[in-house]
């Protein structure tokens, strides 16, 4: 497995605020990677560092093996990027926006971009400012994909979209990955979206990767044990990730094969991705708080 995006000891500070600290990551090629974390975890910072919009305070990011600061010109033609809130020029028409993609990129597939825009029924002569949020999202991703990139980086691509548009966009992305074998990295707040499409997961909390792994592996290796309320770790196998105590019960997220004995009435079942994500995120956030 080759890494398309590789960070080493990556740190980004804004004044005294640390957005990313000492981050070592390798995002796999040809997969959909979800970047998950609470607000302010450093998701946007990480993506912006990769496309050269930001410079690292320390450490480095390499994309396709090129340094993100010194070799931006080797990276950008191969990367399709959509920033948060999908910025587009409001007074340009849809056709103008595609023309922008053609003029500003040496690698540009006009037929492909046009076909995409047509597929979503976007009127070419309409100005961007008259489009709905969902329509804008399709235009923005069309510009990103019209470059025929090897890597697609999307910052909160489905935020503010209604469930139907959300699903349409995600399915579209999935099919692109399947057809062209490109690498997709996107950040998201909604866990359901991540669960639906991500093959690889990075959980960021407070500027550090808290959990990294293939989704399937993560689901297979975690269990939830719900048993009578106890303070200590009972004779359950595996590493305790998080224990939450209700009035009578204790709910534990465990990494490992699962419990050997269940004679105290503990129920054990496979963990959902949401439970895993929350189980890793919550304790880390509490420590920080």
């Amino acid at each position: 497995m080759d890494a398309v995006v590789e960070t080493s000891a990556l740190t980004k500070r804004y004044g005294s605020v640390i957005a990313l600290s000492d981050c070592d990551l390798a995002l796999p090629e040809g997969k959909v990677t979800g970047l998950v974390g609470p607000n302010g975890a450093g998701k946007t910072t990480l993506i912006h560092l990769a496309v050269g919009l930001l410079r690292p305070t320390a450490g480095s990011v390499r994309v396709f093996g090129h340094d993100s600061v010194r070799e931006t010109s080797k990276i950008l033609p191969r990367v399709g990027f959509v920033a948060q809130d999908r910025p587009l020029y409001r007074d340009l028409t849809v056709a103008d926006t595609l023309e922008l993609g053609r003029r500003l990129n040496e690698r540009w597939d006009p037929a492909y971009a046009l076909a995409r825009v047509r597929r979503f029924g976007l009127p070419l002569s309409r100005k961007i400012r008259t489009l709905s949020t969902g329509q804008r999202a399709h235009v923005a991703t069309s510009v990103a994909l019209g470059k025929r990139p090897d890597l697609v980086l999307l910052d909160e691509p489905v935020a503010n979209l209604d469930p139907i548009a959300r699903l349409a966009l995600l399915e579209e992305l999935m099919s692109v990955v399947a057809e062209d074998g490109l690498t997709v990295v996107f950040s998201a707040n909604a866990l359901a979206d991540v669960e639906r499409v991500c093959e690889h997961l990075v959980i960021l909390v407070n500027g550090r990767p808290r959990l990294v792994g293939d989704t399937e592996e993560l689901i297979e290796s975690h269990v939830v044990a719900i048993g009578p309320r106890t303070q200590g770790v009972s004779a359950l196998d595996g590493d305790l990730i998080e224990a939450r105590h209700a009035e009578r019960q204790t709910i534990r997220l465990l990494r490992g094969p699962g419990p050997a004995r269940v004679d105290d009435g503990t129920i054990v079942r496979p963990a959902t991705l949401e439970e895993i994500v929350l189980g890793y995120m919550r304790p880390a956030m509490e420590v920080a708080a």
Binding site: G52, L53, P77, F81, A83, P87, L100, N105
Partner: protein, 337 residues
């Protein structure tokens, strides 16, 4: 990228050039009208009325000049406030700075579209360079149009003075090289403020301020672009009428400058002294000062230096513009998005 800049800013580009055409045409029309109605009224062929009246000492000719001055005020009234139209040329570079230069980068940052542009393949430096170059090219076209208005502007300026000649230095700021350099400077300065502050309002306001301060500062510097020719104040009548006068300090016997306060205190002393009631060639305010070792002087720049001064003025503003443009490019290249 040229296409995108044009597509994004065509309203401003067309607007700027249209304003230049309108103003130039307006000034030209008013000036034509001024010249024609001056001829119609016969201002220049007016002969003062003379009357012969008989006085105890014999017949005397009386010249009644009010008929001719009436004609002049009639002429001025016809043109009315339109004669101030040429003042708009002073304002256009300021407006271009504020409305075209200010938002050039600030708008991108405010709407976050720089993140779209900077992640296409062309790179930030070319993006910023082409944007600046296209807008400055448009500004130069507008300046070239405005430069045509210099002749008619001088006519309008003359209206307020009964139609007497306007000295070249009086319309220095309206001459082509100067106006072009103001325009380029204003836009580059405001664009830089926008790239730095990322705020449209700040760019529009501070850009305007920077432009105004630079204009006033350089304006005060202008009489000193070359060492002025200096002579005693008493010889002021020798200086050619079309020269630019320069205020130079008075000196004492050793040629050391004398403060303004000393000169004015001596003068008020003189006006209180009895000798002022009998001014003559050998006794007037100048001789009074000279007796006390103070010699007033006047400096001037001859009109032959006019185009050298234009080149220096345009050079200063173009240099400042280049500096701001480089700072903008540097800022865009190195800054975090």
């Amino acid at each position: 990228m040229t296409w995108l800049t044009w597509r994004q800013h065509r309203v401003q580009i067309v607007g700027l050039i249209a304003v230049a055409i309108l103003v130039t045409a307006g000034i030209w029309i008013v000036a034509e009208y001024a010249l024609r109605s001056r001829a119609e009224l016969g201002v220049d062929s007016c002969v003062p009325e003379t009357r012969t009246i008989v006085t105890p000492s014999g017949p005397q000719q009386i010249i009644n000049s009010s008929t001719c001055s009436d004609l002049i005020s009639q002429w001025q009234e016809r043109i009315g406030l339109w004669r101030y139209l040429f003042f708009t040329i002073y304002l256009i570079p300021a407006l271009a700075a504020s409305y075209v230069g200010g938002p050039l980068f600030a708008l991108e940052f405010e709407r976050a579209t720089h993140r779209l542009a900077w992640t296409q393949s062309i790179g930030r430096l070319r993006w910023a360079g082409v944007k600046l170059a296209v807008i400055i090219a448009a500004a130069l076209i507008a300046a070239a149009i405005l430069a045509v208005a210099i002749g008619p502007s001088r006519v309008l300026m003359g209206v307020g003075r009964s139609g007497t000649d306007v000295k070249p230095f009086e319309t220095f700021d309206l001459e082509g090289p100067a106006i072009a350099s103001y325009m380029v400077f204003g836009i580059a300065a405001a664009a830089f403020v926008g790239a730095w502050s990322r705020r449209i309002l700040a760019a529009m306001f501070v850009g305007l301020l920077v432009f105004g301060v630079a204009r006033v500062a350089v304006h005060n510097l202008r009489p000193w672009y070359e060492t002025p020719i200096i002579m005693p104040l008493e010889m002021i009548s020798v200086i050619p009428r079309d020269a630019l006068f320069v205020d130079v300090p008075a000196v004492d016997r050793d040629g050391q400058p004398v403060t303004r306060e000393r000169v004015s205190s001596l003068l008020s002393e003189y006006f209180r002294s009895p000798s002022r009631f009998a001014p003559s060639a050998s006794s007037n305010d100048s001789t009074y000062l000279a007796d006390r070792g103070v010699f007033r002087r006047i400096g001037y720049q001859p009109v032959e230096r006019f185009w050298t001064f234009q080149a220096i003025e345009a050079g200063i503003f173009t240099g400042l513009a280049a500096l701001f443009a480089l700072l903008t490019l540097w800022r865009v290249r190195t800054r975090d998005a």
